[in-house]
């Protein structure tokens, strides 16, 4: 369905915000959810329903998405998300409400899916998926076989949405940053097998220590330039 068609209802997902998207593969549960929702919307439209689907691919911040949906005539929206979308889905739901759209959700689901064959699984439900030495050998072998540019790590893909702490450190869970042993392994293994990602990984670890997800902050419209006027409200006449 075209986003320009007026429709009274929308099914929406926030954008897939992944700070380390060049080192890690996308969360396969997010892709599965997106496909499932797209199919459901297509079926509903096939039955004559007027529904818009927006999977957050525009690159717009949440407020801009809400404004666009209002312009398209949307009055009700269901906000969906995979576990990795928990914070962004909250941001989107708040923006839609603020724009006057009646919101259901966020509806978070952790559908089990098979891991993509190309992503390197290193993290299990409760720590490293195998002894560190074995993982490191396997990663080095994957890099040797496929080249460093083709190797992506699989983010942690288990857990229920309710287990997520919704503060700025929540995103680190998907990369294993919350687990000291996993963090140490990751830094060492990347340094040895995927060194061109090491500085970027450090950047992400710094932000994790500060409990900040800058991508979520930008999605929420909290950039320093966006909020500067509000920040000065008490001191500049």
């Amino acid at each position: 369905m075209s986003a320009h068609d007026p429709a009274p209802r929308a099914v929406v997902l926030p954008p897939d915000l992944g700070l380390l998207c060049t080192l890690f593969a996308p969360d396969p549960r997010r892709a599965a959810l997106e496909a499932e929702l797209a199919a459901a919307v297509a079926a509903e439209r096939g039955a004559g329903g007027a529904v818009t689907f927006d999977a957050g691919e525009s690159g717009e911040c949440a407020a801009a998405t809400a404004a666009r949906l209002v312009r398209a005539g949307v009055v009700r929206a269901e906000v969906h998300g995979a576990p990795c979308d928990a914070v962004a889905a909250d941001v989107l739901a708040a923006a839609l409400s603020a724009a006057g759209i009646e919101v259901a959700g966020p509806l978070l689901r952790a559908a089990p899916v098979l891991a993509p064959a190309t992503a390197f699984r290193w993290l299990g439900d409760s720590g490293l998926a195998a002894p560190p030495e074995a993982l490191e050998r396997a990663l080095a072998a994957a890099v040797a076989a496929r080249g460093s540019a083709a190797v992506r790590l699989l983010p942690r893909c288990s857990g229920e949405p309710g287990a997520f702490v919704r503060d700025g450190a929540a995103w680190g869970w998907r990369y294993g940053f919350d687990d000291a042993a996993a963090r140490t392994f990751l830094a060492g293994a990347v340094e040895r097998s995927l060194p061109r990602h090491r500085a970027e990984l450090e950047y992400a670890l710094i932000l994790f220590q500060m409990a900040v997800d800058p991508l979520e902050e930008m999605y929420a419209g909290n950039g320093i330039a966006d909020r500067n006027r509000e920040l000065l409200v008490n001191i500049v006449p």
Partner: protein
């Protein structure tokens, strides 16, 4: 093994532009193998390790192709022990061509508004923004945007094309970048205060807000999946936060400094919370409680008001009109440094004189302010390590509306006493409380209830300390 005067060519780790668009790394040219130079990829080691390895093998000269990343890496090398024994050459003879230099070269191929079709080892060609053209393996479509008087026109032309055909714009995979000097002038004549390591991401910090809006829209239309990452880097660049320098210094993973030698340390309690949450009243009550238990007590307040605070607030006023946004970082650093100074003058002397110190606010306020406003801590955590660990920290949690009602209609409000920042403080306070075990109290609860809880927790902490000593 290298001889005594041997040189080593160092390839610095990829920086923010390549984090954003990793495919650009293919454009960086290492020196040809035929030249026989010894080359080391610095991405795989810390500057200290690289320097140590170089010195151990007799290397006395480290050469870089000139680039902002090379300059940043060289600065980090010069801080390492033993760096005096190794010459650092940023001149670049025979050291390959850095990504930044390649992008500047490629920009010369295309007049403003045209893309460059570039492959690492092929002749570059200029094309209109959405001109369909088959891409050879490894070829990239780049859109150089010239910083300076031609920028507005170049942006407008590219935007018009992207708006006219949004789907094609999204699918074309064009990477826009700003063409600025690879190196800051360094003589006071630089037209930007952005850290040079953000090369390509912004044209500078002294351009009109309309240019910033246009750049954001263009990047979003051409690279929607990367637009939030781009915005984040723009945010840090505008604040003058050098994330690349912090990354190569291994700020997150380097070993923490060894703790100070053990000495007599008083009990340390802190009451945290936003403005108008009732901290001062609870601080006074806790002081009375500790004194009634026979302890000598002092109250300390690491956030000072008066002339210092007014001067820092004046700094913030310079950000009016969305200019000089780096001053938000300077304001934060000034306040952190004042707290360090306060430690030296008011806290350290008290450590040996009292049985207990009660702090009105604690380091979490600094951390929440940095993360809440700028989404980055410019160094507070490291600088405030001079403070002793607190035995217990209490957080008086309150919602911004209640805080503002308590603050009332004071003639003059501080910079943070607005709904947005009070909300940001609360968000980060609660996050830190969950992660670090702060005792959270509902500031809206009756004073007597909270005071009783504080007394109970403090009494337990006193017992814990006594047990630990025994």
């Amino acid at each position: 093994m290298a001889g005594r005067d041997a040189s080593l060519i160092v390839l610095p780790p990829p920086g923010p532009l390549a984090w954003l668009a990793p495919e650009l790394q293919a454009l960086e040219l290492a020196p040809p193998a035929s030249a026989g130079a010894r080359v080391i990829d610095a991405a795989a080691r810390t500057p200290a390790d690289l320097l140590a390895a170089a010195l151990e093998t007799g290397v006395r000269r480290l050469c870089f192709a000139p680039s902002p990343r090379a300059a940043a890496y060289a600065r980090e090398l010069s801080r390492c022990a033993g760096s005096a024994g190794c010459e650092i050459d940023l001149g670049g003879a025979g050291a390959g061509i850095a990504l930044e230099s390649r992008l500047i070269e490629l920009a010369a191929v295309a007049p403003p508004g045209l893309t460059v079709l570039a492959a690492p080892d092929q002749q570059a060609a200029a094309l209109p923004l959405l001109e369909p053209a088959p891409l050879s393996a490894g070829a990239l479509r780049l859109l150089p945007l010239p910083a300076g008087p031609l920028l507005a026109e170049a942006l407008e032309r590219a935007l018009a094309a992207a708006r006219a055909e949004p789907e094609r714009a999204r699918a074309a995979g064009v990477v826009p970048y700003f063409v600025t000097a690879a190196e800051p002038a360094g003589d006071g004549a630089a037209d930007t205060r952005l850290p040079a390591t953000y090369f390509g991401i912004l044209p500078g910090d002294r351009y009109d807000a309309s240019i910033r809006r246009a750049a954001r829209e263009l990047f979003r239309r051409l690279q929607p999946r990367r637009s939030f990452h781009w915005l984040a880097l723009e945010n840090f660049a505008l604040l003058g936060v050098d994330v690349y320098a912090d990354a190569i210094a291994r700020r997150a993973t380097r070993a923490a400094p060894a703790p100070a030698p053990a000495r007599h340390r008083p009990l340390v309690f802190a009451i945290e919370g936003g403005d108008g949450s009732g901290k001062s009243t609870h601080v006074a009550a806790l002081r009375e409680h500790l004194a009634a238990r026979g302890l000598s007590v002092a109250v300390r307040k690491m956030y000072r008001h008066g002339t210092f605070h007014d001067t820092v607030t004046d700094l913030c006023r310079q950000c009016e009109g969305d200019k000089n946004l780096h001053l938000w970082r300077i304001e934060r650093l000034a306040k952190v440094f004042d707290s360090v100074k306060y430690f030296a003058t008011e806290v350290e002397p008290a450590l040996g004189r009292y049985d207990a110190l009660v702090f009105d606010r604690w380091i979490h306020t600094h951390l929440a302010a940095g993360a809440g406003r700028a989404h980055y801590d410019p160094g507070a955590r490291e600088l405030l390590q001079v403070y002793p660990a607190a035995d217990r920290v209490f957080l008086l949690d309150t919602d911004p509306a209640r805080q503002l009602a308590r603050i009332g209609e004071r003639a003059e409000r501080t910079v943070d006493e607005n709904p947005y920042m009070l909300g940001r403080y609360r968000h980060h306070f609660l996050g830190m409380a969950a992660r670090e075990g702060l005792v959270v109290l509902d500031a809206a609860a009756p004073f007597a209830d909270n005071a009783a809880r504080i007394r109970a927790v403090v009494d337990q902490a006193i017992r814990d300390r006594a047990e630990a000593r025994s």
